[in-house]
Structures are given as structure tokens and as C-alpha cells.
């Protein structure tokens, strides 16, 4: 969020458990970051569990990138 205030577009990967905190902090800072939610937790997982987190995070980031591009195209039309 501090990056967004500096003009960088952030994609925040958060676990579902921490989503309320991130939403509340974004509201407090008056920013609207693009949020990618993955299952909690990230730490303490075995290899296959962790691979599913990477898959979910990548899918979310890819989707957010596409949405950002679409938004940009709409704005420049």
C-alpha cells in the first residue's frame, strides 16, 4: 500500500485470514490495491500444498494483470 501511494501499481497476495486486515488498512490509507487472495496458511506447508498456493497466486496475479490492462484500454478509448 505504501508503494501505491508512491505511484506503483501493487498486486497484494494475501491469505484469506489476513484479508480483513488488508482491506481495513487500505480503507485507512484511502487506496484500492488489487488483491489476490490465497488460502491460509503459506508457512509450514509441504511441497504439494505449497505448489497449489503458487498456482492460485499466479492465477490471481495473471487475472489482475488482465483486468488492469482492460481498465487501461477503457480509459484510453
Amino acid at each position: 500500500m505504501e508503494l501505491e501511494r508512491r505511484g506503483v501499481v501493487p498486486f497484494l497476495i494475501v491469505t484469506s485470514t489476513f484479508l480483513p486486515l488488508v482491506r481495513a488498512q487500505a480503507k485507512a490509507r484511502k487506496v484500492e490495491p488489487r488483491v489476490v487472495v490465497v488460502d491460509h496458511p503459506i508457512g509450514g506447508l509441504d511441497g504439494s500444498e505449497f505448489a497449489t498456493r503458487i498456482d492460485a497466486a499466479y492465477a490471481g496475479v495473471a487475472r489482475a494483470l488482465d483486468e488492469m490492462r482492460t481498465d487501461e484500454m477503457r480509459r484510453t478509448r
Binding site: M1, R6, G7, V9, P10, L12, I13, G44, F50
Partner: protein, 92 residues
């Protein structure tokens, strides 16, 4: 009865000037890890997929020294001067 609002206060965020991004490529992307267990590995995994499937190159990386510490202002300024986008794990 009249009470004093115990939640009252003044908004506290100082304005931070956005960095001019002239000359920085549209897809300049970095990773910022909060150094919680697994966060850096997760970001690296996502970056590898973005390079393989989306053609991103030269993805930058920065991390907090430890999860419990805030990200240094210098680190944020440094990233903002070089990149247009950041993937942050886990967002805080």
C-alpha cells in the same frame, strides 16, 4: 447525555509524492516479500510463471529484513523509482 467520541481523531497520513515513471518500461515489475515463512518462495514461484507464460523479464526483488519490521522507506522509494508494478506478499 453528551459524550466525547472515544474514536475521534485527525487523519494522519502525510501526502507522499508519486514518482515520475518517465522512461520506465510499462511492464517493469518487482517483488516485495514481507519475509514471512514461505512468502519469498511464493513470490519466486509466481515470478517464474510470469516469465515463462507472460514474457516478463528482469523482475526485481526486495524484502523486509524480517516479517515483524516495517519496510524501510528507502526500500519503498528505491522500488518506486525503478518499477511500475509490484507483487507484494503477504500484503501489509
Amino acid at each position: 447525555m453528551k459524550i466525547v467520541d472515544p474514536t475521534s481523531g485527525l487523519p494522519g497520513d502525510a501526502e507522499i509524492a508519486s514518482v515520475a515513471h518517465d522512461g520506465i518500461p510499462e511492464d517493469a515489475l518487482c517483488l516485495l516479500s514481507n519475509s514471512k515463512p514461505g512468502a519469498t518462495e511464493l513470490l519466486r514461484g509466481v515470478a517464474a510463471r510470469l516469465e515463462a507464460e507472460r514474457g516478463f523479464t528482469d523482475i526485481g526483488f526486495a524484502s523486509k529484513p524480517q516479517a515483524a519490521h516495517p519496510t524501510a522507506e528507502e526500500t519503498l522509494d528505491h522500488l518506486a523509482a525503478q518499477y511500475r508494478m509490484a507483487i507484494v506478499a503477504i500484503g501489509d
